[in-house]
Symmetry: C2
Subunit: 305 residues, 2 copies
């Protein structure tokens, strides 16, 4: 593992700050009405962050883009699934996390995350890894959108696409519903491939690609007319997002259980959500098509060159 | 521990079936418009249940009263906190569970549960225990209501009130918010006090008391005029209910993780819920009073005879 020092850490932190700014600017532009407000916070146990939130926009009902740089004395075992032997080391974590809940049910919800961990012990090289990815959760499915999303994901991930796509399908899955959260994308954790410079370059390509993966879909769908039926389906499906994040998402649970900043962690939750007992879509409806065609692991680029 | 056999089990099961019927009849009467529908289900691994749901009523936006009788080959360690040595025994569980989400924000959300567990092993007496209780989650607090609720709870629980009230305050607590879920009530688990006959009698007094603890509050508050502000606060506070049930509630998590029937487990979730970033009530408002006076463990009967 290539050694990582102050210069590399500063480079990652600088990239994440720029990424947050770029994402917020692009999303404000796409929203066209509301602006992000910045909420800077410090963490009593070390570090802090800058949570940027846009609520009640023209395009986004709620958009959150958080940056955090936190540290601790003892790494919890859950932080590195592959290397539990690092538990107990002092650690630093840097991340940008984005969750977008659009107004229009034809615009999918999107999530993107880039994070960098360092575990340090006296007398040893620091151990580091990247994690992150992006995934898409449509309410109404469109093949064109799914192909576009995965095309950009494949361009960004390159040789890592197949593995990161499979990891995404595996991670964003609700066992109690036997349902994927959406149509997937990229997911990686404990990522060090090729040493720091190569891994960082891969991660930057993925972080930078989010805007071109998502915004064309937003522009294409945001003016689609919709009524109460589509809105109700959107609110109902958002319940699955809540269930995944609160029951399964490792980052959310680790954050809540380890004294993280609750409001920043739960900025991922939808602004309005409905549950209805044992609701099922009408056979043959567009709502049924979401389950049958889109909430199924699928190679969206099977026919693509 | 007094031995429990087929006659005792049948008595518990009969009581729970009657309790479900009594609760549904009383709640339909209080609602005045909608009726419960019954959804009977079977569990592939053994047993089944009857989930009764009322949605879109005049008083209740969503009311669920579920009965289940399920069994398994190997008791999971989480089922008995106090006696992990029972893990691996064959088990049977019987329960009635109720969650009420009223329309009017001045009517509190209520939860009631009575459950009975038996863990069996060849050549040993069956080990059994009761669990359950009831707790109240107001959106707007009223001292009269809190005193009435706890007065009925104390009458029902008798000598067990102080311990069950403390256990309720401890259990229904959201550490990531540093907030109780509501004003508490009664909670018990691994309850065998006095042997089967005495314990069952205590549990029946508590189950039977729910209607007289809750319905007078419903009748008193359900016609209170309210507007968008109160509705928004109700939707916002319901988010805490979701957070508790999905992040902390042992029964919910055990059910979801062990292949329970998802729709029956998640009938506890509110029909409509809102999250808003870092929202805080205006100082001096009735919403602030909820946090300051009611979401604080308190002896509501301190001055009562």
């Amino acid at each position: 593992m290539s050694p990582v020092g102050a210069a590399q850490i500063a480079a990652v932190e600088g990239y994440l700050q720029r990424l947050q700014a770029v994402l917020c600017a692009a999303l404000e532009d796409a929203d066209g009405a509301a602006r992000f407000r910045s909420d800077r916070w410090t963490r009593p146990a070390g570090g802090g962050g800058d949570t940027r939130i846009l609520e009640g926009g023209a395009t986004f009902e709620r958009a959150g883009v958080g940056m955090s740089a936190v540290s601790g004395d003892r790494l919890p075992p859950s932080a590195s699934k592959l290397r539990p032997e690092l538990a107990g080391r002092s650690w630093r974590a840097f991340g940008v996390s984005l969750v977008l809940h659009p107004q229009n049910p034809y615009v999918p919800t999107a999530h993107c995350n880039v994070r960098f961990f360092i575990a340090e012990a006296p007398g040893s090289d620091a151990v580091w890894w990247f994690g992150g990815g992006f995934d898409l959760t449509p309410y109404y499915g469109f093949d064109d959108d799914a192909r576009h999303w995965h095309t950009v994901a494949r361009e960004a991930a390159g040789e890592h696409y197949a593995g990161m796509k499979r990891a995404c399908d595996e991670y964003f899955f609700l066992p109690h519903r036997n349902e994927p959260r959406g149509i997937g994308g990229l997911f990686f954790d404990d990522f060090t491939r090729g040493g720091f410079d190569a891994a960082f370059a891969s991660v930057k390509r993925i972080g930078d690609a989010f805007v071109s993966a998502y915004l064309p879909i937003v522009r294409k769908r945001k003016a689609t007319p919709y009524g109460e039926r589509e809105r109700n389906f959107q609110l109902y499906r958002r319940g699955r997002y809540v269930e995944f994040n609160l029951v399964h998402d490792r980052g959310t649970l680790f954050g809540l259980q380890s004294g993280g900043r609750t409001e920043s962690i739960l900025m991922s939750l939808p602004p309005l959500t409905a549950w209805r007992y044992d609701w099922k879509p009408q056979p043959g409806s567009p709502e049924a098509a979401l389950y049958e065609r889109y909430l199924v692991p699928r190679d969206w680029l099977a026919d693509a060159p």
